[in-house]
Amino acid sequence: MSRLAVDNLGISFGGVTALTDVSFNVEAGEIFAIIGPNGAGKTTLFNIVSGLYPPRQGRVLLNDEDVTGLPPFKLARRGLSRTFQNLQVFFRMSAVDNVMVGRHMHEKRNVIAHLFTLPSVLEQNRVTRAKAEELLAFVDLSDVTDRPAGNLPYGALRRLEIARALATEPKILLLDEPAAGCNPVETEEIDNVIQKIAATGVAVVLVEHDMKLVMKISHRIHVLDQGHTIAQGSAAQVRTDERVIAAYLGRHGQREAGRA
């Protein structure tokens, strides 16, 4: 049983085909990277899998159940969570509040109790906050717990989004360019965090431009070009694949890959 299976997925916008016949499976504990040049359809793929766009064709399965077309919040309740390439942090809330929102599904959602702040609500707020603080520590953000998210540096926001996504206790985690805009030290930290997450049995799907990071931590790599799959395999296989080199890596990438 695959945690996530994508079967013949396709979508087009205003007649322009963005994705055609993309299929892959991701297993528990695996780090599965999706790479490809700009416009290859990586983020579109994430948007379909997480329920933001309805696909024109194909299916998405979570734990062998067809979940195609379900709204994002229902997918979240089945264990799917994600981060965003162009950050979707709750900028008006503090760092810890951001992560507390991620605990939403695991909280009691009785509005009447919330109106009158029954003791159970206070107790639950305490539990949620403790859990959120734990996750902030996990991504090394304990020192900014009560700072407004709007004041945090870029690298911290990337990790904050990861902590928030983890708060939902996902079984499948989609990370959309988690290292974009981060300096080498921050990238190193994120790379450790991702490996720790996968080690707990979460299936991690990663879209990333930092080839060094991808080649180092991914178990398998799936390469897209202009909406089509052109290769899939281990880092070593992908690195030497003729089509990948031609379509994507080019001279510069070859050098880069050689160094990795």
Partner: protein, 290 residues
């Protein structure tokens, strides 16, 4: 049949006015992204200033011209001192500013003039024509012809003149327009001036038929807005079609159903359109980018 025609005539006449208001909305929305709730006040100003200038002894054409110039000056002033300083503000802020402008104009009008209803003598004389058993007022023809002339002039301006093309370019992509050397600030200012003029002409045309008073602008703005939305926000042809459609729907429901809920029609239309086709009859759908 005569009854049906009669409702159609009156529906088209008010519909033409709604279409003009909707056109004004559309111009401003395209140029600046602002929903200009004060648009109806310019129709009111067009009527009121003409009435009082005429009463003060000006010949009617001169009074109408005075009203037109007044509206344009006020339109530009509001743009300069209320809209432009708030550029980049949130949707809620802009809504409040334009509604504030509308209330301000209403207040000023009630002080400068008065709070009574006013009308003007018809611009073309006397007897209604009988068409298919229904009476068609010459003034209705004038309203329809005037509205058609404005639509034609606007079309010519937007598609056949360089300035007009600059307006379209700014609407399509403000940054790109600026990069190719268009003075986008001037274009936005121009849109506010043209919208004020279109509104004022609407007011001048309709006052002999419908009466005007300091507070007649709000309902007009809302109906014009319903029309613009029905046609798909930002689409000039849609605005005209939407305006006529709202006018006709209103006239028929007043005639065949109940006149006391005549004003409700426009809003039922808005709600219906928004629920069924959130992008209007002629609007494009957009995909949210994440």
């Amino acid at each position: 049949m005569p009854e049906f025609l009669q409702f159609a005539f009156s529906g088209l006449t008010v519909g033409a006015i709604y279409a003009l208001v909707a056109l004004g909305f559309t111009l401003i929305y395209n140029a600046s992204g602002v929903i200009y709730f004060a648009q109806g006040e310019f129709v009111m100003l067009g009527g009121m200033v003409t009435v009082f200038a005429h009463a003060a002894g000006m010949p009617l054409p001169l009074a109408a011209l005075t009203a037109l110039v007044t509206a344009v000056v006020i339109g530009l002033t509001l743009y300069k001192f209320a809209i432009e300083p708030a550029r980049g503000a949130s949707a809620v802020s802009l809504i409040i500013i334009t509604i504030g402008a509308s209330i301000l104009l209403r207040g000023v009008t009630s002080i400068v003039f008065d709070k009574n209803f006013h009308s003007l003598p018809p611009y073309a004389g006397g007897e209604p024509w009988i068409v298919g058993g229904a009476a068609l007022l010459p003034q209705s023809i004038i309203v329809l012809a005037g509205a058609a002339a404005i639509v034609a002039a606007l079309w010519y301006f937007l598609t056949r003149t360089l300035t007009g093309k600059a307006v379209l370019a700014t609407a399509a992509n403000r940054l790109a327009a600026r990069l190719v050397g268009i003075n986008t600030n001037a274009v936005v200012g121009l849109s506010f001036a043209v919208s004020a003029a279109i509104g004022a002409i609407g007011g001048i045309l309709m006052t002999p038929i419908t009466f005007t008073s300091y507070d007649s602008g709000t309902l007009l703005a809302l109906k014009g807005f319903a029309a613009a939305m029905l046609g798909g926000m930002g689409n000039p042809i849609g605005a005209v079609v939407g305006g006529l459609a709202v006018g006709l729907l209103e006239a028929f429901s007043a005639g065949y159903i109940s006149s006391s809920y005549k004003d409700a029609v426009a809003f039922l239309v808005i709600l219906g359109v928004l629920f069924v086709m959130p992008n209007g009859l002629f609007g494009r759908s957009g995909v949210e980018r994440v």
